[in-house]
């Protein structure tokens, strides 16, 4: 906006000056007599940039990639998520070398290079799945979600609970499986578990919920190991997002020794920092399969890919807004 004061002997003279100088689009902002009362003072303004031009400028601004390098942008995001310095450096270096156009894609490329992703399918199961993990990570809810997803695909399901030591452990799973019309089997001893697994080889999906284990307790880990061996199940670690990354680094290595190769991240909806997920994928080389967002069984498990993980880590990167607008427009 340009603003200018005009002084003339009469109002009409002053307005004439405004029109000559600022053109027909000018508006009078104020008018009155000068202090001595002999002349007229008019303040007029004209806005040379139209609103649509401003909107175009703003669009262009959103399209611009930040002045910061991709490496620095990725690094700042990883620091926010509590990723330890060594992994931050490794990921941001790898992102910088990816040659991607924006930080999110660069980080996705780094994830692709450094981590393994293996989506858990609920229609083809080669071996039974055993959900293992520390207390409160959401094993039972994940088990119920898997049962629900398999049920929707008309698979035959066998649900087994080894969670007999905790008060209400079996009952919790039972309440969920009853709802799905699945008969829950309990197996408190290793031999029971073995017999149940061997009983029905035609079942498409066999899901085993286990008692929470303290990974630092050798006795509990041996017990769990015996169950994994007896059932010949694939142990899948269930880990709550938002845990302390360093703690996760320690415990994932211990579960890795039991033969765990994949993990499911849970409670994603209530964690704002996802550093622990990256650490789990890094320190014990575990493959990230699916994520669980809420405790609602019907919400199911969501698949996760390098790009969706990168968007989770960098939700506000410049081009995300643009991409989102494009997606919505499409």
């Amino acid at each position: 906006m340009r603003i200018k004061t005009y002084i003339a002997t009469t109002n009409s003279e002053a307005i004439k000056l405004v029109c000559e100088d600022l053109g027909d689009n000018a508006i009078i902002i104020s008018s009155g007599n000068t202090d001595d009362g002999n002349s007229v003072r008019i303040v007029a303004a004209v806005d040379l940039t139209s609103t649509s031009e401003i909107e175009i400028t703003l669009e262009e601004e959103y399209e611009q990639v930040s002045n910061l390098s991709i490496e620095e942008t990725v690094k700042q995001a990883l620091v926010f998520h509590g990723v330890p310095p060594r992994l931050t450096k490794q990921l941001s270096n790898s992102a910088a070398k990816a040659g991607a156009q924006n930080p999110t894609l660069a980080l996705a490329a780094a994830f692709e290079t450094l981590f393994e992703f293996s989506i858990l399918r609920t229609d083809i199961f080669k071996s039974p799945l055993m959900l293992v993990g520390p207390p409160g990570s959401g094993k039972t809810i994940v088990a119920a979600k898997l049962c629900n997803q398999a049920k929707l695909k008309n698979c035959t399901i066998k649900a087994i609970s080894c969670d007999t030591q905790r008060v209400g452990g079996v009952e919790h799973f039972k309440a969920l499986t009853n709802h799905l019309g699945i008969n829950l089997i309990t197996a408190s001893k290793v031999d029971d578990l073995k017999s149940h697994i061997n009983l029905n080889v035609t079942t498409q999906m066999q899901i085993i919920d286990t008692t929470a284990t303290n990974p630092y307790n050798e006795f509990e880990m041996i017990n769990l190991h015996q169950r994994i061996k007896a059932s010949e199940a694939e142990p899948i670690l269930v880990l709550a997002a938002g845990s302390d990354p360093m703690e996760v680094a320690d415990i994932t290595r211990l579960y890795r020794e039991l033969g765990v190769k994949r993990f499911i991240a849970t409670q994603m909806g209530m964690a704002r920092r996802a550093g622990s997920i990256l650490v789990a994928a890094d320190s014990a080389s575990l493959a990230l399969c699916n994520v669980s967002i809420s405790a609602k069984v019907t919400d199911g498990l969501k698949p996760i890919s390098p790009i969706s993980l990168a968007r989770l880590i960098m939700p506000h990167t410049d081009n995300n807004k643009l991409n989102q607008q494009n997606t919505e427009a499409a």
Binding site: M1, R2, A77, P103
Partner: protein, 265 residues
């Protein structure tokens, strides 16, 4: 189609930022930081839980005006050493909380926009613990200034009667309105000789906004020229502590009352 994971990536913010007020001016040197401090103080004095955030990333000086030597500030948050709530300082003298910037730190102005948005989001989360959050934004109309305030529902635009202040304030209003049409804009005229002159200054910007932008931002208040303001700033003491009954103090208290009505609405 948007998946649930995508929604998680860009969470809905609904009511977030309802009580967040961005304070901006376009032009520097119109008394933005002083106004922010005094308004926070006035609101705190009437029993409101207040947080004052120094959003002037390039030349933060909120702590200087208050004579504070903060141990923690926004730079610790940006570097990942502290979470935003750990950077809060209890300014007991004024009865409100502060998040300080770092004076003269060019580094703070050099933040990735994604990181800046996260800080803005964190601030919106923190705002739930307060009756109101005031954000003292930097001068200018750059994206960093606007981005930090992206969760604020109201923007208070401060201006004086100088033509440069008027045109810069207008430019700020224009760009804010184009960027986020839903933001409520309110005008405060500062360092004016009388209420009448303040009203006249407001009428000038109002006419420009109505004529060119077809919007009518309301007047939140007028702050009269008062030599006590300068004295208080030089003494690094809040105006309401040093000269609680001076004209400018009364004007700010009036604005606080008006503003509080808008928090409730």
């Amino acid at each position: 189609m948007k998946t649930e994971l995508d929604q998680l990536v860009s969470p809905p913010i609904h009511n977030r930022g309802r009580n967040m007020f961005a304070i901006a001016s376009g032009k520097g040197g119109v008394g933005k930081t002083w106004f922010s401090i005094t308004l926070a103080h006035a609101l705190a004095k009437t029993g409101n839980r207040m947080l004052l955030f120094d959003g002037d990333l390039g030349l933060a000086n909120l702590d200087i005006q208050l004579g504070l030597m903060p141990k923690q500030d926004l730079s610790n948050v940006i570097s990942g050493r502290l979470t935003l709530n750990q950077a809060i300082i209890d300014y007991s003298e004024g009865g409100f909380d502060i998040i300080a910037g770092r004076s003269g730190s060019g580094g703070l102005a050099n933040i990735a926009s994604s990181r800046l948005q996260m800080v803005g989001d964190d601030l919106a989360l923190l705002s739930a613990n307060y009756d109101a959050v005031l954000m003292d934004l930097g001068a200018g109309i750059e994206r960093t200034v606007r981005q930090l305030a992206h969760n604020a529902k109201t923007c208070i635009v401060l201006l004086t009667d100088e033509p440069t202040s008027l045109t810069d304030a207008y430019a700020l209003i224009k760009i804010m309105h184009a960027d986020r049409p839903e933001i409520k804009i309110k005008v405060v005229t500062n360092i004016v000789n009388s209420n009448r002159e303040g009203q006249r200054t407001y009428n000038t910007i109002l006419k420009a906004c109505e004529g060119f932008l077809k919007i009518s931002p309301p007047l939140l208040g007028v702050i009269r020229r008062d030599t006590r303001v300068r004295e208080a700033i030089r003494a690094q003491t809040p105006l309401l502590t040093r000269f609680p009954n001076c004209e400018a103090a009364q004007d700010i208290e009036k604005i606080a009352t008006n503003l509080f009505n808008t928090i409730d609405s």
